[in-house]
Symmetry: C2
Subunit: 141 residues, 2 copies
Amino acid sequence: MTQERPYAQTLTRLREAGLRPTRQRLALGRMLFEGGDRHVTAEALHEEAQKAGVSVSLATVYNTLHQFTEADLLREVVVDSSRTYFDTNIDDHHHFFIENDGALMDIAGDEITIANLPKAPDGTDIARVDVIVRLHSRPRS
Amino acid sequence: MTQERPYAQTLTRLREAGLRPTRQRLALGRMLFEGGDRHVTAEALHEEAQKAGVSVSLATVYNTLHQFTEADLLREVVVDSSRTYFDTNIDDHHHFFIENDGALMDIAGDEITIANLPKAPDGTDIARVDVIVRLHSRPRS
DNA sequence: TCAATAGTTTAGAGCGATTCTAAAGTTAAG
DNA sequence: CTTAACTTTAGAATCGCTCTAAACTATTGA
Ligand SMILES: [Mn+2]
Ligand SMILES: [Mn+2]
Ligand SMILES: [Zn+2]
Ligand SMILES: [Zn+2]
């Protein structure tokens, strides 16, 4: 049901976000939103587009990822100080991060229980709570 | 007790880490380890050294922070995809991060209870669990 | 005390991810 | 259509950080 009319679906999302459905945005949007949840870097998405024969500049990939994030179609995940990951899962959730290969995996929000969270310091509000479970992959047997 | 003989204390730490107690390492070590827990960026520590009249190159600040981290005198905290923070608190603990001004504050490890953590995927081991409570500072009244 | 050696510092070049600029190309309106 | 608003893009610029290799310094053991 959520997989039908994929073309129209991405188109609608863009329209609702007030973004003109350009060739580039439609192509990137389809790569991101059709199929399951994804965690991508700009570089990786750009490469994927190239391979799919979609001509988009890296600058546009960055622009688009930021516009999608701004429109709440994506969120950023900070796990590595040298790359930014964009996440198509915008629900509250957490992550496994395999430091060896940079892979990110979702942990559903209700799979982890956080208790006794101290209250935010005066003058501040909690914007989000991120749990990152850092993993090291064991050498394959 | 932990604040006495500050000079000798830093000196001893360096010796125990197998690092020659050079003028630069001693100066940076004292700035980092005397007084309470700190969260610094290389840039900020470099500036602080300059202001204290200690001449150290930025490259040496980076080298030193990494060597200290390697020696378990510091740990890195990833909260911002554009800067690396180094933390003098090497106990298990978590952080408040005020996104507006880049301030980091500790949350003691036992102040948060994490329950139902899913088990690590096959072939991986948990290296660390980081909880980052992202805050937005409310405009001052 | 004083080499000789191993380890350290540093200026400056280099790198990689990301952002910026401003000119050319598109889309939406009317 | 025509026009105005928005978008894309190549390439330059930025920025945090790392690398290189030459100049220093701490350590060692005659
Ligand atoms: Mn960004
Ligand atoms: Mn590092
Ligand atoms: Zn995710
Ligand atoms: Zn800390």
